[in-house]
């Protein structure tokens, strides 16, 4: 009897499985590839912006576009960041990419040139979707806030490959009602000095039984704020080291380190490290092992008063929070600050904020004309306004008003050239030892000296390795440019003036690149010679 029951149960299992399988077979057999309606054009575009509201906003733009073009269908393809590069590579190599692709992950200059259509001839024509507006006769390029100055591909390939539909900035968000409760004031901190008062208020609040972290931290969010403060501390140092006097960050500490005019004991670096430590104290302990979603979660659940992140998170944070979320620029030490004021110029300028979410048109696009037209609509006054309002992302087009909800995110041009962070003084090796040493800076019993004790002895070797890598990569670019340049010259002699212009630009770029390649090699050799004789 028992045997039978067992047998029965066993067969139920397999019958179930067989039934499921049969069902799936039937389902799969029934599915015919969707009837291709020839009169309907499907535009596909792909990106990785999974933040709340972005998909809906782009769908809203698409819906508005379809109202005007009923014979068009628009398909939005969302691919998560961590697989985007792989996904895109296979699509491009396989020759079946979507029409429009967000440029970023998995894109290099040669891929861009190979798989995307240059839009240089398009950007000088007015955008037809701006007809009847003030921008009616303005070339498409000049309707962008940054004039497409930072368009992908422009710097090395001398063509426009990507069209941005937004811009991004970073801010310090805070929980407004909680802020008032903790500090007793509605006015957010404008300077670092005021921020320390907030820290103090949080401490008092916790003493009275609260359980609040001042700033939510994670390996993603913490550097956003810390780097901004660090870079403000090194503004004057950067100008001192900048012997070429270009007055911006152009890798000055790199050669300065090799000729001995820069080391880690510079008072500005110490001060910047000290400041990082102060900030770190007000983040949860062990924040370096927390992830982005942990910090966001802590903020949304009111365990943290503030969080530093980009404008891309504003919609998610507002949607998930039961309280009012406000945002301010990073509160920096003022020039009057007795401890930190001596090294800073003031808040960094955001004048060069470039376009973000750049869409490129693929060469193998099934519907290039339709897709280009949709892209033009997305970056017209009307389309970009819809996008910006629905997503709470900044617009990229000049006369589109910044929605009131994101007014604090609009780039501020009044500010000073930025300094640098330690990771920028080198490459991957410096970054690695910096990350290895960082816990010494922020842990309760750590400090600047403990940090330097580990970091400094390893710094020279890391700089050498990074310099070697930079030189190697520089050489690779230079040698590739030779072929392109000769080809452009040949085309120019064949009677193509545009190629001539590009050849001239490439010659300039190669000259500047080769200058720095040789100069770096020289610096490194001299440094190694010095090291050898020192030994």
């Amino acid at each position: 009897m028992k045997w039978d029951r067992e047998k029965f149960l066993n067969s139920i299992g397999f019958l179930l499985l067989a039934a499921c399988f049969a069902y799936s077979l039937v389902k799969i057999a029934q599915r015919r590839s969707a009837e291709q309606d020839k009169s309907v054009t499907t535009i596909r575009f792909a990106h990785w912006q999974l933040e709340a509201g972005t998909k809906a906003a782009l769908d809203a733009v698409a819906a508005e576009y379809i109202k005007k073009h009923p014979k068009v269908k628009i398909d939005q393809i969302l691919i998560p960041e961590r697989v985007f590069a792989t996904w895109l590579t296979t699509r491009l190599v396989g020759g079946n990419p979507p029409d429009l692709v967000a440029l970023g992950f998995g894109i290099t200059d040669d891929r861009m040139a190979r798989y995307f259509t240059p839009l240089s001839e398009e950007v000088v024509k007015p955008n037809p979707h701006n007809a009847g507006t003030a921008l009616e006769d303005v070339p498409w390029r000049d309707t962008f806030i940054d004039g497409l100055a930072s368009a992908p591909g422009l710097f090395n390939l001398f063509e426009y490959y990507g069209i941005p539909c937004s811009m991004v900035t970073t801010r310090l968000y805070y929980n407004a009602p909680l802020f008032e409760k903790v500090t007793g004031s509605k006015v957010p901190p404008a300077t670092y000095e005021e921020l320390t008062e907030v820290f103090e208020a949080v401490r008092v609040y916790n003493e009275k039984g609260g359980n609040l972290v001042a700033i939510a931290g994670s390996k993603y969010n913490s550097p956003v704020l810390m780097n901004a403060l660090f870079a403000a501390q090194t503004q004057k140092l950067n100008l001192e080291l900048d012997r070429r006097r270009v007055m911006r960050f152009a890798g000055a500490p790199y050669p300065a380190f090799f000729d001995g005019s820069f080391d880690l004991f510079s008072p500005a670096i110490r001060s910047a490290l000290e400041l990082s430590r102060e900030i770190g104290k007000n983040m949860p302990q062990g924040f370096l092992s927390l992830a982005r979603e942990d910090a966001t979660f802590s903020f949304v659940q009111q365990r943290s008063l503030m969080i530093a992140t980009g404008s891309w998170d504003v919609q998610s944070l507002r949607q998930e929070s039961s309280f009012e979320v406000a945002a301010i620029r990073f509160p920096l030490p003022s020039r009057q600050n007795p401890q930190y004021g001596a090294y800073t110029l003031g808040p960094g300028s955001e004048a060069e904020t470039g376009g973000a979410v750049n869409f490129g048109l693929t060469r193998d696009a099934p519907n290039p004309e339709a897709a280009l037209d949709f892209l033009k609509y997305l970056t017209s006054i009307e389309g970009n306004r819809i996008f910006s309002e629905k997503s709470n992302w900044l617009p990229s087009i000049v006369s589109v008003p910044v929605p009131e909800a994101i007014a604090p995110f609009a780039p501020v041009s009044e500010g000073y050239p930025s300094g640098f962070i330690l990771e920028w003084t080198g490459g991957p090796e410096v970054k690695r030892i910096y990350e290895n040493a960082f816990h010494r800076l922020v842990r309760p019993d750590g400090g600047v000296d403990q940090f330097l004790e580990y970091f400094e002895p390893r710094y020279a070797q890391a700089m050498v390795l990074d310099m070697e890598l930079t030189i190697k990569n520089g050489l690779r670019t230079l040698s590739m440019q030779d072929t392109t340049w000769i080809a452009l010259r040949a085309l120019e002699q064949g009677g193509d003036p545009r190629s001539g212009a590009k050849a001239a630009s490439l010659q300039e770029v190669q000259a500047i690149g080769e200058n720095s390649y040789y100069s770096r090699r020289y610096d490194l050799d001299e440094f190694e010679k010095k090291r050898k004789t020192a030994k």
Binding site: E6, L9, N10, I12, G13, F14, L16, L17, C20, F21, Y23, S24, L25, K27, I28, R31, S33, A34, L50, E51, A52, L78, I79, P80, E81, R82, V83, T86, W87, T89, T90, V93, G94, G95, N96, R292, E293, T296, F297, V300, Q301, R303, D313, S316, L317, E320
Partner: protein, 280 residues
């Protein structure tokens, strides 16, 4: 099939149960967490991460949403997982039998061929594979996923199975051979019954692997209609503010069919095949 108890051993039974249950309890903690978080929202989860909510406060909507997310992919997933698992194991058993039965000429060479692949850590480069599949016109088809599952599963499964088949007493094979059984018959009558439970374990592993895989479907399928449920799950995982309740609910819904299926088929793997037929 297993040891029959003697009077002595019966007495000391309960401490064993206790230890096993304790260990299993810890092992099952993730499952418990998945269950109880799946009906919470983020605030509830944060305030009471460990304890379940009273049933009245459950957010059934999480499970409903999870179901809506998973359901469209079920048919494809079952298709790929079932076919993938069956074919993988079928070929792997044949292969393992080849290695385990005799030391055939070249068998060492073939073995090295497999071992090399298993030991070599590759910097994943999927593009050549993609180009190959494209040139074979294998893109955008569920059969390709089955094919890749079979190819990807061979090395590991053959490696494990070989060890087990080698352990089967040789006289069993010889007896079968005397009766005039072909090699295929020997596999059916000797190998499968004798290694039923390891085959079952491998089948479960392979099935789960197919069930949750997201990369290959995402890369190889152009049509959304051909995705399997792993693809649905990564969208949840990729979001920047995690809705833990919804994520757990989706995971739960996604693994429920597996659970039901295993509950019903385990018996076969555990003893249905192994016991009766050939007890030495």
């Amino acid at each position: 099939m297993s040891a029959k108890p003697t009077a002595k051993r019966v007495k000391s039974e309960w401490p064993k149960h206790l230890v096993v249950l304790l260990l299993l309890g810890i092992e099952l903690l993730p499952f418990y967490m998945m269950l109880q978080i799946s009906v919470k929202n983020n605030a509830e989860f944060l305030n009471h991460p460990w304890l379940p909510l009273p049933p009245a406060g459950w957010h059934w909507s999480n499970l409903v949403e999870g179901f809506q997310l998973i359901f469209p992919y079920i048919a494809n997933t079952v298709f790929v997982a079932v076919l993938g698992t069956v074919c993988t194991l079928f070929l792997a058993i044949l292969g393992a039998y080849f290695f385990a039965r005799y030391k055939m000429p070249f068998s060492n060479f073939f073995w090295a061929f497999f071992l090399f692949l298993m030991l070599m850590p590759g910097v994943a480069n999927i593009v050549p594979l993609f180009s190959l599949l494209k040139s074979m016109s294998l893109l955008n088809s569920l059969w390709t996923l089955v094919l890749l599952a079979v190819a990807g599963g061979q090395v590991f499964n053959i490696y494990v199975l070989r060890n087990f088949i080698e352990d089967i007493p040789k006289d069993l094979f010889e007896a079968a051979e005397m009766d005039g059984a072909s090699h295929f018959k020997q596999i059916i009558n000797v190998v499968i019954p004798m290694s039923g439970s390891i085959i079952g374990t491998l089948a479960i592993l392979s099935f789960i692997g197919q069930w949750n895989d997201f990369l290959m479907p995402l890369l190889l399928m152009r049509d959304k209609e051909l995705f399997t449920l792993g693809v649905g799950l990564i969208y949840l995982d990729g979001e920047y503010i995690k809705q833990w309740g919804k994520i757990m609910a989706a995971f739960l819904v996604a693994s429920a069919p597996l659970l039901i299926m295993f509950l019903f088929t385990m018996k076969l793997f555990v003893r249905g095949l192994g016991g009766a037929a050939l007890k030495g």
